[in-house]
Symmetry: C2
Subunit: 254 residues, 2 copies
């Protein structure tokens, strides 16, 4: 049995909480959050505190708060020599206070509060200062995911950067697509099968094999037409930059 306490209850921790609570091999001893949270059914038997001096004992403390706050928050903890991990892709392990044993438990996924995700395939990236703690984190990860990987803070920083490209920036392109359609009174639904297939394609093809479109073909007429449609548009610069990069990429490799 692994006992955990959650410190903070944002998107990541509330999702981790739900899945770990439902795991027989894990007990959630407590949830701490600076602001009061009413634990609702079926979780109303989980102790909650907003008092940092009342945090219970646990095998693993899981911090899920904004990156900028991790360092100072971890300094304010009353206990020491415990295994304290954070869940951030972007922050190094050593931002944590050294008065506790430090580690990382980073689920590589995008989380929203009211959307449950299936953890089975989500990579859990772990790191720890000593082998015993790494083993605890591996066991904890394996209760929910088939993909627990040890990754250093340096590599995790790059992984997080890549995640920003394929998640935040991709989602922004979805928003641009949606805005272009809105201007024409066309429903965003029209693009959804294309969005799904674009993501699905790279399960079996590399992104390079999957690429299609006017920029790859250097179809100047279509590109000219698009640039004309985008005159005075806030999306013109992105269109130009992507088109230039795609032309160069596929021009070089042909």
């Amino acid at each position: 049995m692994i006992n955990v306490v959650f410190l903070g209850f944002g998107n990541v921790n509330s999702n981790l909480f739900t899945v770990l609570h439902n795991t027989p091999k894990v007990t959630v001893n407590q949830v701490f959050n600076r602001n009061y949270i009413k634990m609702i059914s079926p979780f109303d038997n989980i102790p909650f505190t907003d008092d940092i001096s009342k945090i219970k004992d646990a095998d693993v403390y899981i911090i899920g708060i904004p990156d900028d706050a991790i360092s100072s928050f971890s300094e304010t903890l009353y206990f020491q020599d415990k295994l304290v991990v954070h869940t951030s892709g972007g922050a190094a392990m050593d931002v944590l206070s050294s008065k506790n044993r430090r580690g990382i438990f980073y689920p590589l996924q995008t989380f929203s509060k009211h959307r449950e995700v299936d953890f089975k395939d989500i990579p859990i990236c772990i790191e720890a200062e000593n082998p015993n703690d790494l083993e605890v984190l591996r066991k904890l990860g394996e209760t929910i995911s088939g993909k627990v990987v040890e990754i250093s803070s340096e590599k995790r920083a790059k992984l997080h950067l890549a995640a920003v490209f394929v998640n935040n920036f991709v989602n922004h392109l979805y928003e641009i697509g949606s805005e272009i359609l809105k201007d024409e009174n066309l429903p965003f639904d029209l693009l959804k099968p294309l969005i799904a297939e674009t993501a699905s394609k790279i399960e079996s093809l590399s992104p390079q094999q999957a690429q299609t479109g006017p920029a790859k073909r250097n179809d100047k007429k279509t590109i000219e037409k698009h640039l004309h449609l985008l005159v005075d548009s806030p999306y013109l610069k992105l269109y130009e930059l992507f088109t230039e990069e795609l032309k160069q990429n596929y021009g070089k490799k042909l």
Copy 2:
């Protein structure tokens, strides 16, 4: 029964061919292509020609060739007053020669030769010069898709532009993610669950609701760290542009 002839056999037409051939209400009379194609089993009973003067009679002729070639190719057809459509998102209906009745049959999807797609949910965008032909195209579309929509050439141009953002540019971001990981000897597989969830999220959330990440939060420390990791990288400009737009977008709306 609707009889069709395919003119050209690229990604779009070969996918349309497979699905229409398997539809009881449609007969594929012939495939024409400039270069010889060996029709392989189970399609070896479909007549093939590479001789433009030997094109058979049909209710609908479906042109699937590069945009730039549609106009001149449609002029070289020997017959007239037939329903001739093209399948391009980017080309207007009136690029087709006026010696035939013109139309559009545009499946809004990304096609690759060796990957079958399920047409049921794919929007088929149709357009025609006269109501009878529009009805034929609607019937033809409805044999394969539950989503046949009449869309003018002007609106289709915008739809195609939006498709470039959510498909070609999104796929380029996948490639950037894959390159960043390759430099760290990390497998691209690590990002696949995130890519799948990012696409899946907008089935139930708007892209704006689904957005997360350092740029949206204006998390300056993480952004600074990313910019530092991207010094001398070809991806720096895209990172800066996306981050600027996301900061503005979510800054304004807060």
